[in-house]
Point group: C2
Chain length 406, copies 2
């Protein structure tokens, strides 16, 4: 069993880096604070006797050797970056639970057959640099390194330059190696476990998600003398599209999600009808067929609204992450561990994307969820109970040991 | 009569400063380009034998002496700043028509009894620094100097610092002096004169306009695991408010205007329901009573939509410019000049705010409009015909001479 207090203390110490006034964390990818968080984690891992390797994407791999160095390792991990107004648990919990597994095995003097590894994946959130999960995405072959290096934040800074700047551009090629298995423990970020009073979620997969930029282009004109009826005003299309997309979510049942995370107007002058609105659209559904139908309807809705008010709508596909089913042997290892430990539990699908989505393409992968307060995440008030975090880390420990063998 | 070719050539030379790829102008207030435009204008005025005075708001006053230095001057003028995607005529035409009046009087060797002045008012557009017409607004006592100096652009730079930086913070107090009368000639920025094939608009006043920031505050949460029905999503209020405000404009007849020039989301992350949306709202009507009713309905609509979806709506009054009626003697001077010159014309109310709105509070004021192509303004494609611009300048010359007397 892990040391729950030590895990909690480490979480709270990491949470001081980028702590916000409202009790959350702002430690966005490849900022100075991201570097400080990485430095702290690396120091802890060295103190735990591990070796460190950093790849060209800034992914950090912490290794605890096994008896048999030729066996592929059992890997766990998650991310240290946060949303701009993020919480203290999203991602960092999965990283520090991995470290706690290693610390606990050290305490107990347990050696494993296969090596164990804890990974920190770069820029999982996709908040500063779109898309999400780009560190694990390059590593697993979904994206090219050059594509990742060229991604820009809102100030036009590139991923590559910022990675170099914080000193975490490693020499090792960012490319998957054989793994015996990979596990990730994470807060649920939704309300189900709390509502159903279950302590552990055994994940069977991750829902599909599509990201888009919808650009509505009209004709700028003066707010005063221009008659309403002659205008080609992107906002007139916007409200129709928003309304119909919320209805689209309703029409596709309780698992469909439609989110607009960002919007901007060009030129953005108070007394000028904007030439352009650019809206960030996020559509999700656990069933890829349904998500594809939603994708299709979205295009129709945007096109029809644009025609109705005389503006142009164009949709750029920013990112697609298809629905994922995890490896049966990893789901089984998690399920058996939960049963052994006697925790209440529920089999479920993740609503959020995780690094495990990409890792699952190149290695048998499984995930573990613990409850989070009111299901609130991507919010500074994000919270989780120490006993649940401890339980999740215990499940992780058992599942990893099942594959790595003592 | 003025020299229409010289006026056109000066307009086209000024339009090279901040020229955009699409044939417009981006010469926003207190930028380096604004300074370059001012420098060119000041040089032309010195060449025309005028004296220059600059006040603490950066308003430029160009003076051509009269026979009687004790008489209050007859003033004309407008602004040199543009929208970010602005045209070549909005504002600059009124300034250069004033210069053309002086050049023409010089050519003809005509002396006036009262002095003549041409003013360049700082930051009329309100695009870089809100509100609009702040240079004439401080001068006429509507705003304090400190209020103006403290206004910030989107990068957080202050009006005061930027004015100092471009070297146009003058020593003279920004405060109204007695004027015999003030006139301003401007492109219509709307379609009426063109549609009715009239060459000159004789303005009886300016419609009322209100600017607001509407802030919708919800609860940030994760785009994936958060069920739709539990969300407090500002976008869900936004589309209801947009739709109802467009309907509000319809309900208040053909002169009501509702414009949303800018919007931003906080934190603005693709996979997070925004905590806040901030929407710039511009409401206008020529009848101040109707505008007040629209103001009232706007508050009700925003409050009701917020309650309906569980977010908070707060409205900040950014600016109010009540409906204005111009001085009868100035309207008469314009009307008589148009009749003498034989131009087709129409009496009308301005849909756009102009520096004359504030000047009219401290001096008898009148305005002259000329047609602009398709009524398009605050657009790089803004266009006007040389013969119309010449006609407007002739009306200005005659109206000024009526008051200043030869
Ligand atoms: N776990 C998490 O917040 N991931 C970000 C990717 C997503 O948008 O689901
Ligand atoms: N003329 C002009 O574009 N003025 C700006 C102020 C307004 O918004 O009406």
């Amino acid at each position: 069993r892990v040391n729950g207090q030590r895990l909690w203390d480490s979480l709270m110490e990491m949470a001081t880096i980028g702590a916000t006034a409202k009790g959350g964390c702002n430690r966005q990818a490849l900022t100075d604070l991201d570097r400080d968080g990485r430095d702290l984690f690396v120091r802890w891992c060295r103190e735990a006797g591990c070796s460190i390797d950093i790849d060209a994407m800034g992914n950090i791999f912490v290794r605890r050797p096994g008896r048999n160095p030729d066996l592929p390792p059992v890997l766990t991990g998650s991310h240290l970056d946060t949303q701009p107004t993020g919480g203290r648990f999203d991602g960092v919990y999965g990283v520090l639970a991995g470290l706690e597994v290693i610390r606990s095995l050290n305490d107990a003097g347990i050696e494993t057959e296969a090596p164990l590894e804890v990974a920190v994946w770069t820029n999982e959130e996709g908040a500063r640099f779109s898309p999400a999960m780009i560190g694990s995405g390059v590593w697993s072959g979904e994206f090219d390194l050059d594509y990742a290096y060229g991604r820009t934040d809102k100030d036009g800074k590139t991923f590559g330059d910022e990675l170099q700047r914080i000193g975490y551009r490693g020499e090792t090629e960012a490319r998957a190696r054989p793994l015996a298995a990979a596990f990730e423990v994470h807060i649920e970020q939704g309300p189900i476990l709390e509502q159903e009073q279950k302590q552990i979620g055994v994940l069977s997969g991750v829902q599909g998600m599509h990201w888009y930029d919808l650009t509505l282009t009209g004709q700028p004109c003066h707010a005063g003398p221009s008659p309403m009826e002659g205008r080609r005003d992107p906002f007139m299309a916007l409200h129709r599209i928003l309304e119909q997309l919320y209805r689209l979510a309703e029409d596709h049942g309780p698992w469909a999600r439609v989110t607009f995370g960002d919007i901007r107007a060009e030129p953005g002058s108070r007394n000028t009808v904007p030439e352009q609105l650019v809206l960030a659209v996020d559509l999700r559904h656990p069933d890829q067929q349904v998500l594809n139908a939603m994708d299709h309807s979205f295009r129709e809705i945007a096109a029809a609204a644009a025609v109705e008010v005389g503006v142009e709508a164009s949709i750029r596909d920013e990112w697609r992450s298809p629905a994922v089913a995890f490896a049966p042997q990893c789901v089984a290892a998690v399920r058996e561990s939960v049963t052994e430990l006697g925790y209440s539990n529920k089999e479920m699908v993740s609503g959020a994307g995780h690094d495990s989505v990409y890792i699952s393409r190149v290695a048998p992968t499984g995930m573990i969820f613990v409850p989070c307060e009111k299901g609130l995440s991507h919010n500074e008030a994000e919270n989780a109970q120490p006993e649940d975090l401890e339980a999740g880390a215990n499940v992780l420990l058992h599942a990893m040991l099942k594959i790595a063998t003592q």
